[in-house]
Symmetry: C3
């Protein structure tokens, strides 16, 4: 099914080649004409960011970096969900070693995506809460399909988006709007997101979203790639350096918070709610 989709995309967008087949939770296809790589998250059912998906994301981003692609488009194979964010199963009754690896991997993904030397864009073809919004706002451009929602809704789940989530958010929104949305855990509709600047454009289909992302990445075609990469990384250096400097503290802070009985209880109630919803 995924392969069909990939192949059909290939057929429509011209010459492409599938780079990764070893990983199963992401695919990367490079358009040979444009040099732009499309990185697709495809972990059923909702692209929940668990340790394995994060590992695949990191591997794929590194691959795109090392292949000197002209751009990276992040999207989802799911028809209604870009990414549901951090997989709550990783945080509920967590296993000691695994949860450390999980958070560390999330840090890695952010550092490599937000700090990527390759220009990046997100084709947001579905809902994009929490970690999904983090991935989208770590890219340099966002095109979103209508009737979906996006936002850092961590406070709604009883958790705290760490500083680096805020960095990505603040790279897109003004301080006043960013703080209020974070405190409220607000989810924006596609239209609201466009108006406030959380996304840059809308598109009526995934195909159109990918094309608009490619058009944005195309604006760099005549720009010196090294100068552009150094410019971007210098612009984001303070944000990136902050997490680099505080990685251990950030991990311990997360572990301390997530292991609070009240937080665990909250996640349990949330999961019960999801199960009941699923049964209906």
């Amino acid at each position: 099914m995924l392969r069909t989709k990939v192949l059909s995309l290939v057929a429509r967008s011209g010459p492409s080649r599938l780079m990764s087949t070893a990983t199963k939770l992401t695919t990367v296809e490079v358009n040979d004409k444009t040099g732009i790589a499309t990185l697709t998250m495809c972990r059923a059912p909702v692209n929940g960011l668990n340790l394995e998906l994060l590992k695949d994301l990191k591997t794929s981003i590194d691959e795109i970096e090392s292949n000197k692609s002209r751009g990276l488009i992040l999207t989802s194979s799911n028809a209604t969900i870009f990414s549901a964010g951090l997989d709550i199963m990783e945080m509920y009754n967590p296993e000691k070693e695994r949860i450390r690896a999980f958070w560390t991997q999330l840090q890695e993904v952010w550092l490599s995506l937000y700090g990527s030397s390759v220009p990046t864009a997100a084709a947001i073809n579905g809902h994009s809460p929490a970690g999904g919004c983090l991935l989208a706002t770590s890219c340099e451009y966002r095109v979103m399909l209508p009737k979906f929602t996006i936002g850092l809704n961590e406070t709604q789940l009883g958790i705290v988006a760490p500083k680096w989530f805020m960095s990505s958010f603040l790279s897109v929104l003004p301080q006043r709007q960013a703080e209020r949305a974070l405190n409220q855990g607000r989810m924006f509709s596609t239209e609201e997101a466009l108006q406030i600047g959380l996304i840059d454009e809308t598109a009526t289909s995934k195909e159109e979203a990918v094309e608009k992302c490619a058009a944005f990445l195309g604006t760099f075609a005549r720009v010196n790639p090294l100068a552009r990469a150094l410019t971007k990384q210098q612009f984001r250096a303070a944000d990136l350096q902050q997490l680099e400097n505080e990685r251990k503290d950030d991990l311990e802070k997360f572990l301390f918070f997530i292991n609070q009985p009240a937080v665990q209880k909250g996640l349990g109630i949330y999961l019960e709610g999801l199960k009941k919803k699923a049964k209906k």
Copy 2:
């Protein structure tokens, strides 16, 4: 007179209780239904921020914090002035010990209001220059009545708004607008303030302003209070930490500046002007 007002408010807004009666320069009333506390400044004639009003403000904010209120609405008992800002009598020919206590108390009020774990809003029911604007911009939301003015007009008075005044201002306005307004000491009309984003809404009466503030605070009703508080404090941490780190320096800088003969002379001329104006 104040009591009548408080009681009439109570009558209109449902069950409330008056928390503080010991202090005279502020009152706090909590709506038992919503859990929202209204903190009213009531120092005649213009809510000038002197040492005593600042002490009462600090006590009231702490009280609201410790009572785990669901929100804080800051407003004024004066019909045309929210707060006239720092009481110039504290700065003109100051007494050595008192002016130190005065500035230290102002720092305390800012740290506890800007860093409050309780969500905050200002019902700006009158003019709000300088320190009045500082209090308003330290809240998370602002509703203002028409035909008043708001701004950090320190340069008009020959004084310099310290860095933390700038932090509150920058949490609301874009850098370009914030810097220009600070340099000009610009006072914005209600309409201008709305357009630039210095306030969030207008209201035609104090009652409506308080209701709109309560509606904003109500957006947090379904959000986890601990996660929300930690999110807000993390967002504001760098600003708060900056003053914490520089409290002594900030005090000495203020004392040095305020004791300059030219500054004292300027304040004297300003006070003469006020007296003449009052006689007319």
Copy 3:
């Protein structure tokens, strides 16, 4: 020719006196009525910022500072170019000592212009790429004539705008727009610059642009000059301090980058292009 222009300006704007005649690449004239100094760059053919023009700029800014002028208006004697930015001849096959002096002088100019205690405005009467845009965005206000372009297009030339170029840019534009424009090396038309906030007003002639700049500077007329200067410098302190702390590193970084064979090759190709263009 320049002198005629200066004199005709004098005739039109009332009593002025020409302050500097020793330097040849800039002129300063002070309007005796308003106390506002107009600093005009006049290095043929395109106000390319070479070592000598930078030295004259620094001298003129210092002169205006020390004369306690009420304002500084930066403009160009060229009818179509404000400043073409850094003179590429300084960077192509550079002489060791001179290029160090060149970059150091550029740092000096920025520190004194961006940190100037005198309020500043730019009458942008021509194209303003790269270093030209740096000068314009280091001022507090910008009025631009139609049908010209402005922007930090360094990535188009294969070079990297250093952090302090970014500081000036970010003092004017929101983070999202600033980053994207920097990465793209985007040049904005006058209309686009107005819409995004990169300039504040447009004017149909240089005379009108200078008048509008003077009107902006006039908003400070009733503001205490010392309080205003300290407010501005405190607002810009972090940006200024960053370069002060990193001046040597910033110089070495520039030298390392500019001496890369690929960068030299790129500059060579660019210069060839200019020559061909000139022949046509």
